[in-house]
Symmetry: C2
């Protein structure tokens, strides 16, 4: 696995149970996965030479992030390394422009979008979006006719590389990085959902239940599985969209599809990730087979495990660092307070706003689970108040 963050770290327990020898390539010896995986290589994940050397010990190379340059992946594959997901699939999780074009061509429902080259083009796109509703006011240079979402096509994550522009002056910054910019309509959504599937090279696939993903500033903070009150037809449609994308792009491993549930009960694809994903961390405690186990099974071309839930509901809440680096007493308190809660700690130094762990509550009463998980995560984050 290239990348040694918490995703690689959480893959290790699955590898241990399966009897799979996990090797990790990462930049620093104190990275989350390096602490728990003996076969860790400390090297540069963006260096083709380092990737080549690392791959020599591996039957299959996979990833815990999307940051490896596509050209390196193609070079590895050309040299006979088994790369899963393959570079052609992974490109759609690396480049939002490529992704949007491909999904649109495949008839997958997406927000209206366009590659734009400058603020004027953003204004024109906004004007088009509003044509039907109210004609653009020519000459108004301060406001766009409607808010537009701007995204750098490459390199963004966790809310970085995404802007909401309501005026032309707000539509300037995205172009400074010299990366193509994608403009999208600002979707009026009821909530965000995620559809996570796993797929093998031979095309076997499993779909986890559709979850509700609560985001703040573009960062996932809470996941409820399955999404409460989601009509069965919409849940099926979301699974089918994810399975269709996995097949269309020939994804191998876990594919996470972030979706908008619109106020008029339609689905629109927001983002793709081709690796274990935050919206499926709940599967460690709440599903028969975790996403990490199914990712390993998939990339190793082993039969997939059941994605069924073990209880009616699971709620996962991310833990972000607070002001206080020492959280031990807060940690003890959480264990004391709720013996049914599952804590997952990533072994990272606690810094304000940094994702340092997550907690999961599994059971019948979704409100109770949500309260318990939020309380624990909030306590761990606000430990400075003690």
């Amino acid at each position: 696995m290239v990348g040694g963050g918490q995703l690689a770290r959480m893959t290790q327990p699955a590898a241990i149970a399966l009897g799979v020898r996990l090797a990790v390539l990462t930049g620093r010896p104190d990275d989350a996965a390096a602490q728990v995986v003996p076969a860790t290589t400390i090297a540069d994940e963006t260096s083709l030479d380092d990737l080549r050397a690392f791959a020599k010990q591996c039957d299959v190379v996979t990833f815990d992030h999307e940051q490896v340059p596509p050209s390196h992946l193609r070079a590895l594959e050309a040299a006979g390394v088994v790369v899963r997901p393959g570079p052609q699939a992974l490109l759609h999780a690396q480049d939002k422009g490529v992704m949007r074009a491909r999904l649109k061509a495949a008839g997958i429902p997406c927000p209206r979008h366009r590659i734009v080259s400058d603020a004027d083009a953003v204004a024109a796109f906004a004007a088009e979006l509003t044509t039907a509703a109210s004609p653009a006011q020519a000459g108004d240079r301060t406001g766009l006719t409607t808010a537009v979402v701007l995204k750098t096509t490459r390199g963004g994550y966790d809310g970085k590389g995404v802007w909401i522009a309501r005026s032309e002056s707000e539509a300037v910054e995205p172009f400074l990085a010299n990366v193509p910019v994608l403009a999208e309509e600002l979707v009026d959504f009821r909530r965000e959902l995620a559809a996570v599937v796993a797929r093998t090279p031979s095309g076997q696939a499993v779909a986890y239940p559709i979850v509700e993903s609560v985001q703040q500033q573009g960062i996932c903070v809470e996941v409820v599985a399955p999404a409460p009150g989601l009509p069965r037809q919409l849940a099926l449609e979301a699974q089918q969209v994810a399975l269709a994308i996995a097949t269309e792009l020939d994804v191998v491993g876990v594919l996470a599809v972030e979706l908008f549930e619109t106020r008029d009960s339609h689905l629109l694809v927001n983002e793709l990730a081709m690796r274990p994903h935050n919206t499926a961390h709940w599967t460690i405690d709440g599903a028969v087979t975790s996403q990490f186990e199914n990712h390993l099974r998939a990339v190793l071309d082993l039969p997939l495990g059941s994605p069924a839930t073990v209880a009616p509901f699971t709620v996962m809440v991310n833990v972000f660092g607070g002001d206080q680096p020492d959280v031990y007493s807060a940690y003890r308190h959480c264990l004391t307070n709720d013996p049914d809660l599952k804590i997952h700690w990533y072994g990272k130094a606690v810094r304000p706003g940094r994702k340092v762990g997550h907690v999961t509550a599994v059971g019948d009463d979704v409100d109770d689970l949500r309260n318990r998980a939020r309380n624990a995560a909030g306590y761990l984050q606000r430990n400075a108040d003690e």
Copy 2:
């Protein structure tokens, strides 16, 4: 953790989630835990110097077996090392004579027993056992009046160091090892049960549900949790016995109490283990908190997690090596055949009769679970027949 077998290996996933840095001392770099724990020291677990050096990096020292000499443990403790369970507690899992004497004094129900010095003493003990039923026949040197169980007080495990003697000639071998020998009545039991508890230094304790343990030649082959059809009163009594022993001996960590359920529905203590135990491997998949997590929490003096089950029944079946060292195709078959089954592989070379893994099935219908787990384990073991 001293010892690098499958128990230490299965402790690593719990340590990863808790954010605990697990270090292991073991003899060989290919030991089950050495493969998955970066902080592994390869040294001699029976050398006091090696133990001392290893302990320097640890906040707490614990064990995956009972083979460390008691004198070494006392020396470590005297040198200020925190050893959990402590030497005085652990001694009762290391010496069956000490254990029997202490449990008897504490009023814990045990089989009738006696330390014996030779075959004549075994015959006398047998005669006493049968006094009530039918007087011993003086001068009969070929048969004992009743079968007697003989155990070396130290060093036995998995059926080794245990004999059933039906004649005086069968009562000779146990004395050859020059270790004190314990004679016990052969209990007419309905089945074997196990009561597993975890206890912290401050005395907090949790009790897992009582399980049925199926043994063949003194080796656990199958565990059903909870024990089907066990009367509630007997289950409570078994938990109380285990909790009483944990308190009486000041055990810290997991304590497993193997019990006989007699045909007249009484409980008798058979063996003790003070470490994660084969009869609680089911807790990884079938309980809110695994025995491995609770062992870590206990020895680190953290609050314990819930021992509640996640489903009505869990069946665990051990996988023993067969004639064929390469089990990959059998492994694939098992994953294909039963996507709900959980496989746990220990990373050990497959040799006939060697415990190389276990499988777990979790659900509602105990007969179905037993069939599925037995089928998978049997298939993995008999893979030579393919």
